[in-house]
């Protein structure tokens, strides 16, 4: 079947299997491999992308369901070589180690801050509950999101 959608600002039209997951469409058809697959139960969030500006787990969306919509992946977040403020905060606060959860985590954080530009620590933790990280203990991820919201000083 034919899907037509916008991916990172680019209009696309592709013939896909009806059962193709959005994450596989992005990775295999579009060649955008920042989003990763870390589980098979929609638990880990490594595949999180923005669909019409809101975070979704792209392993639980069919490519067909995204037709007519706007998808943004980690590759599309940085503008003209400059890190997006959330990406920059993740680096400044050491909010990533192995990097596998990172693109999904960043997209979830971007979506969280759009919904709630000044979250409390507890709200950040609740907002990122669906994104698992095994390296950081979440400590610096939380710091990064708070820093990106302009609420926490970057650690001296």
């Amino acid at each position: 079947m034919q899907v037509e959608l916008t991916v990172n600002g680019e209009q696309r039209s592709d013939d896909v299997e009806p059962r193709l997951l959005l994450v596989h469409y992005l990775r295999e058809v579009c060649g955008l491999r920042a989003a990763n697959i870390g589980c098979d139960t929609t638990s880990c969030g490594a595949c999180t992308v923005l669909l019409n500006g809101e975070s979704v787990k792209s392993c639980t969306v069919l490519a067909a369901q995204a037709t007519g919509q706007d998808v943004v992946t980690a590759e599309g977040l940085a503008a003209a070589g400059e890190l997006h403020p959330v990406q920059a905060a993740f680096r400044a606060e050491h909010g990533l180690q192995c990097g596998f959860c990172t693109p999904g985590m960043v997209m979830a954080a971007v979506s969280l801050l759009r919904e709630n530009p000044s979250p409390t620590e507890e709200q950040v933790r609740e907002g990122l509950e669906g994104n698992l990280c095994r390296c950081t203990g979440y400590h610096n991820i939380i710091r990064a999101v708070l820093a990106a919201s302009g609420q926490a000083e970057v650690t001296a």
């Binding site: 299997e17 059962r19 990775r27 060649g31 491999r33 920042a34 989003a35 990763n36 697959i37 870390g38 589980c39 098979d40 139960t41 638990s43 880990c44 490594a46 980690a74 590759e75 977040l77 940085a78 890190l83 990406q87 993740f90 680096r91 400044a92 050491h94 990533l96 180690q97 192995c98 990097g99 596998f100 959860c101 990172t102 693109p103 960043v106 620590e121 950040v124 933790r125 609740e126 990122l128 509950e129 669906g130 994104n131 698992l132 990280c133 095994r134 390296c135 950081t136 203990g137 979440y138 400590h139 610096n140 991820i141 939380i142 710091r143 650690t155």
Partner: protein, 768 residues
Amino acid sequence: MSILGTRVLRTEDPRFLTTGGVYTEDLTDEALDGACHVFFVRSPIAHARIGRVDLSAALAAPGVIAAFSGADLADLPVIEPMMAGMLNAKMTRRLLAIDKVRFVGDPVAVVVTEDAYQGEDAVELVDVDYDPLPAVVDFDDALSNETILFEDAGTNVVVEFGNAGSLKPELFDGCEVVVSHTFGNQRVAPAPMESRAAAAVWGEDGRLTTWIPNQGAQSARDDLAKMLDVEASQVRVITPDVGGAFGAKFGADPEHAVVAWVARQLGRPARWTETRFENLISMTHGRGQRHTIMIGGSRDGDVLGYRLEIIQDGGAYPRIGAVLPFLTIMMATGPYSIPNAEAIGTSVVTTTTPIGAYRGAGRPEATAALERALDLFAAEIGMDPADVRRRNLLPPFTEPHQTAFGALYDSGDYAAALDKALEAAGYADLRAEQASRRASGGTVQMGIGVSCYVEITGGGDESGAPQENATVEVHPDGTATILTGTSPHGQGHSTAWAMIASEELGIPVENFTVRWGDTDLIPVGGGTGGSRSLQQGGAAVQQASKELIELARERAAAALEASAADLQFDPGRSAFAVAGDPDASVRLADLAKDERLFVHSIFTAPGATFPFGTHVAVAEVDTETGKAVLRRVVTVDDAGLVLNPLLAEGQRHGGIAQGAAQALLEEVVYDADGNPLTASFADYPIVSATELPSFELASMETPTSYNPLGVKGIGEAGTIGATPAVQSAIIDAVAHLGVRHVEMPATPMRVWRALVEASAQGTDSESA
């Protein structure tokens, strides 16, 4: 100003944050064009004889290229347990099971397809006849030998480290108080976010090139060569980005060898990425010990005797897990001076997923047993647990301290770490708050857990002294390359190794390229594990850098027509200058123009190092529901001098989270038939952001003399210190209600049951 000790941001990050890392699944190397996809058919039964394996329906399915069962690989050598001299050598394994399966997840066949979706369909079509045998899940069932996993071995015991006959009955003579208890240190899943994977292709020269997420390409290469029955020189392992490992990606697994075998058999590249379901049932698990402790001493708090008896679950096929009691025994008495102590261990096989290394590997178990014992002792004599610890800690030492269990502690000041942690936590205030909450009789009570530890990092392997190699090369354009035998998967070696070399060479950190994990490029290396990398790999980079300066000095002397002894190297300019004549100078990079400028160096440490510290945890427990919430974790982790606080703190955070998760939540569970009940992230309660607080880290840096950087390992401190502290905090929250112990993980059900039992006992004793 020195760059060492400063918070340099990671050079790795921009790539990870934008295009994402290139993990094995992401590879687009043209050598892998046209790769087929390998899917494993895994046993759904814990223990069974294999009858007929019918591949015909799968072979007829769309897109299926081939399918193979164990019989097809029968010519390949059996896999012997590692350290076959120490472990029961009869407990061997096949790449694909042939006669028997021994755990749910044991691979019995593979289906190979053109695309991945076809494989998921076809793998269901393989029909295997199983003749079920009794499962062996429980330690006691394994020890009883009623059902034996390996008939040739005649026993389920893999190895004994001492035995009951060697225990001294008089160990507790003279003790006023003796307490004993048996408890578990449960099986957990390492669960790196990236599951296992492989991509493999054979060249026309008969050499295998394989990409595997691993912790040390060189040991992965050697494992593969053994499993495939080829020379190590015929195997090239390349390490893509690795999405976490935590001990579970050391070496190569049978699946990695099968993927390579399929690629050779079919004459085309082959790829495999396991699902999370496969990962949770077939990647090695960690921990899995049962401890029986006995602790005795005086009523005023002197610990005089300690005995630790360990049973280790090795899982279905003995791997490093079976050896873990060795480390647990070595660290049995931790940072304490205990006049009489003994420890023994027995490893058994069970019809469960094999146990391997998981962050800490043997040392968290030692600390958990000892700290639990001290808490039980403190409770029995009615003394504050922190006071009991302070009273029994070894005094500060700077000359190595030999323990009764064969460990040689390099340097330590354990009481200082304890006091610092208590002060940072506000211990006295916490106890006051606890007392007032107890007095108020509210339903949410607060507990404080204190855990002191010392651990071993950077130990040598059986091949001898702890060592690592590095190559540092300066290029004419002012950039530099470092080749390292370590293998980062989140630790930040690209940044850290560049900092170390930058300090010596005066080349900016961003001008370095750090490479690892390609066995053709770096044939020798110990990889990253056991918290060894900085103290050996980093020290090797420093040593190579210093030697490179000396090599360059000779060239500079020739270029400047000066005596080498008169030349000074100025890192600020990355140039040599003649003493007293700064205008007569030559840049380091310019000395690489006519001839390559590089040094390969091997650093050898005199021994392992022993980081130490204290963790304080604060938990709240709802006494009506049993729900425990972790409120604070305050830690002092002294791993010698700190190269980059940003990276060291990150290691501590991650370890604390995993340690806390074991105490609070995580457990791999099997039913009595050996069926895994935690085979997805929907069922395995991997810790998330909502279950943890932010952590409070206090710093303490006691240098070691074992390497010129003065550093020890920091990777595993978190799991070692945090697990017992968090468990203890939860128990302490309900101790005044008569609870002395709650098993890990301290789920609401377990805490609630402990409260109910304590209440019933209280009622019994009142009525008696």
